[in-house]
Subunit: 356 residues, 2 copies
Amino acid sequence: MSDEFYMDLALNEAWKYQILTYPNPAVGCVICDKFGKILSIKAHKKAGYLHAEPMAILFALFNLNDEILNKFLNEYNVCFTQSFKTLTELNEADLDAKFCYEFILSNHGNLLNDASAYVTLEPCSHHGKTPACAILIKQLGFKRVIISVCDENKIASGGAKILKEAGIDVKIGVLKEHTKKLMLPFKTWLNGNFIFYKLAMSANGVITGGIISNELSRTHMHKLRGVIDLLVIGGNTVRVDRPVLDARLANAKAPDVAIYSTKRDFDTDIALFSVKNRNVEILDNLEVINKPLVMIEGGEQMLKKIALGEILNVKWVLIYQSSEFKNADNIKLDVRLKPLYEGRLGDDRYGWYEVC
Amino acid sequence: MSDEFYMDLALNEAWKYQILTYPNPAVGCVICDKFGKILSIKAHKKAGYLHAEPMAILFALFNLNDEILNKFLNEYNVCFTQSFKTLTELNEADLDAKFCYEFILSNHGNLLNDASAYVTLEPCSHHGKTPACAILIKQLGFKRVIISVCDENKIASGGAKILKEAGIDVKIGVLKEHTKKLMLPFKTWLNGNFIFYKLAMSANGVITGGIISNELSRTHMHKLRGVIDLLVIGGNTVRVDRPVLDARLANAKAPDVAIYSTKRDFDTDIALFSVKNRNVEILDNLEVINKPLVMIEGGEQMLKKIALGEILNVKWVLIYQSSEFKNADNIKLDVRLKPLYEGRLGDDRYGWYEVC
């Protein structure tokens, strides 16, 4: 198959963690052995978690040799008093980066000699708490590294140069237009605000009448609430729905809230006002918002204003859509969206869309 | 990666041609070389076209050796006075099965020795116009064949036995529940009627007000019209929309039409009545329909009756959904659908759903 095929697998994996990696970019990585067999498809999942490349390298080694997996489990569980037993548990875990790097370097046994790595973003060259990803790839004897886009961040860039100087065949630019879309939130919040609008609706466009989305969708949304800097909500929604707006399904910190309203007379018994460690502000002008990552949870009126460009510079819409038709009125407005990514959360679909 | 990973690739490819293969089942096939590298991902596209296995084998050989591709193009173009130049053209073409089989047997050069094939359905054992797929796989020296479900068709079954007797490692049952869903239309029309309901709507559930779907979606729908035995449409839709209901975008034969109506007073100037080689009947009772493959193109009332089980035994709904919101009323009913497959046609999404 073509380089584009493998890069597409890496991109799809990266999209699953879009925004959740804040303030880091979403990055995906596919590793193939020297014969072209896929060994792993992984992504960076959350800031502080392993980068996509070491995650993919670790799982490639587990795939190649069960003994490496068993050794990892034994040593990791002893060292960090954990009780991980399966690949699935490791896959979800916040693994210690330093331990993983050292484990990889001590146990790879040249199994990844002449392997290939497909990465959506240039591997980092920055030696922070852990060695740079580019150095790790070099040390394992990879033969080819295929990069979609280069890192413009001055501290982290230079990975491709390190790889080339080590004699690795480096190809840059595969599916780069797609990866530029993937990277747009990161590029935007680095130098300004990335603001997205979240909508949950039925298969036939109904957004009212109680809970629309399934638990997987709501958990995903709570994870987002756990990483954003600010949640913006319309005053009417607060008065009618009396929401909590916390992130309990993800065991995460509830976000700060800005209520968009010209009136300030809210019933302070509404649950959102009583959430601990949360700031709530009431704004009649959203242009003052200067947080890097902002999610809007509004209703029809708010989406109309956004579609018309009347409030804020909202580039993306996140839609959770159930597979249920409801006998009720839909949200009504004229707006064309361009799909960037769609995935499934059980029977619900969710997707990231550009406002055209 | 696991057997499930490769079978899932085969399944996804097969779903793209769901119903379009009528009266054959939708079948997908992935071929990996002896090292586990993916060589091709193909499906059976249309009755009369190559089976999934020889299609995947042919493209695996093209992938392995450019000279085989060039030789194929030269010989095929001379033999059939064609002017195919690219893999893309070959991929879409109705290739002569006998020629392809003989070409494969004469030119494989043992390149597929010890390869693996993942097939959603047991390879056929029936020697018809061309050799059976099981024999072909045996002759090429495959080492492993992974089958999702076995063929219950007495004429075609027995492929797994042929493979096992040749010493090939045969594994059966990978993702079989998913493949059973894929095969449901085929199983149904073999012994009765498979009836599905087609709906085109905007992102927010609007089904009225002119053309909703893009040209790719409409072409897909015309391909379906080209293979079905009967198109059922509601009398009101005929009176209001005055449709042609042909299959011009797919250069296919327009389907026969049954209009569901208690009144018989249709304006015969309505375009659908003037399409050549078409039967039109007006039915006040749909239970008399006994064609194997039937598509319903109805409006809200018809879908409500189906959801309530009042008319026909409709198990599946095909939905084309644009990524555009419209400022208009939605279709309104209570029904829960279970997604079976979703794919993209440009900015539109389409999907097959089970009525729960």
